[in-house]
């Protein structure tokens, strides 16, 4: 029973992490295309790299040279929608991580 609970917390964390990383990738790809940055998918992968969101910071620094040139309302709404999904993903990660810590302490 104990280990089932541990597996549940790890699964919650992983689901949250995968969902968040995927949303970051998609947001970066849309944003890079709107700014006319070459290789938007590569930028998306770069943004998802790093342990503590270093990739996003690198992307934010890199894209400063490229102002948004072509983005439509649909893409803007899509970015906002994906940010909200990323928030849900982060909440999953928090629940999973806190549950994991409490579980380890109880052992």
């Amino acid at each position: 029973m104990k280990y089932i609970l541990l597996a549940i917390f790890i699964a919650i964390y992983l689901i949250g992490a995968v969902a968040t990383i995927y949303q970051i990738y998609k947001i970066t790809v849309i944003d890079s295309k709107a700014r006319g940055i070459k290789h938007p998918k590569l930028m998306g992968l770069l943004a998802t790299s790093g342990k503590s969101s270093e990739g996003i910071v690198l992307d934010l620094l890199h894209r400063r040279k490229y102002p948004i040139k072509n983005i439509n309302k649909y893409e803007q709404n899509e970015i906002e929608r994906r940010k909200k999904i990323a928030l849900v993903g982060i909440i999953f990660m928090v629940v999973g991580a806190i549950g994991f810590v409490f579980f380890i302490v109880r052992i």
Binding site: T20, Q23, I24, I27, T28, D31, A47, S52, S53, I56, V57, D59, L60, P67, I68, K69, N70, I71, N72, K73, Q76, I79, K83, A86, L87, I90, I91, M93, V94, A97, I98, V101, F102, V105
Partner: protein
């Protein structure tokens, strides 16, 4: 009259095609088409270029469409979001210091370590979300 129609009118008066105007403003022809059809609004940088291109003041240009003003207010309100990011960074710095202090002082107190762990997870997640919001 909305801004899109005004751009069409000014472009036609200047006898420019969408492609020629796009070249002057350093954007794509599709962007000009989207502005004219009201699919999305030009940002402040583009508005300055338009005002220079057609020799019209920004004040006059913006007075045609209240929605553009609303859009600019929303898109340029970076002060508020930057404040949140700054608070998140300060909170994380405080938590790291707290972590070090607890690591030195609370040798056997597991409950204190768990509480600090929990706070650090929440504060880091808050910072992470604030960074994502900047995307």
């Amino acid at each position: 009259m909305d801004l899109g129609k005004k751009i069409i009118e000014m472009r036609k008066n200047a006898k420019l095609s969408q492609g020629q105007l796009a070249e002057k403003l350093d954007v794509t022809r599709q962007t000009i088409s989207n502005w004219e059809n009201g699919k999305f609004y030009p940002d402040i940088d583009a508005l300055v270029k338009i005002s220079k291109c057609f020799n019209i003041s920004l004040d006059d240009l913006l007075s045609y469409d209240d929605k553009v003003l609303e859009y600019l207010k929303d898109s340029t309100n970076v002060v508020k979001s930057n404040k949140k990011l700054l608070y998140a960074i300060l909170l994380n710095t405080f938590v790291i210091i707290l972590f070090i202090i607890v690591g030195i002082t609370a040798n056997e107190s597991i409950s204190i370590i768990v509480i600090v762990f929990t706070i650090s997870i929440i504060s880091f997640s808050y910072l992470f979300y604030q960074i994502i919001k900047k995307l």
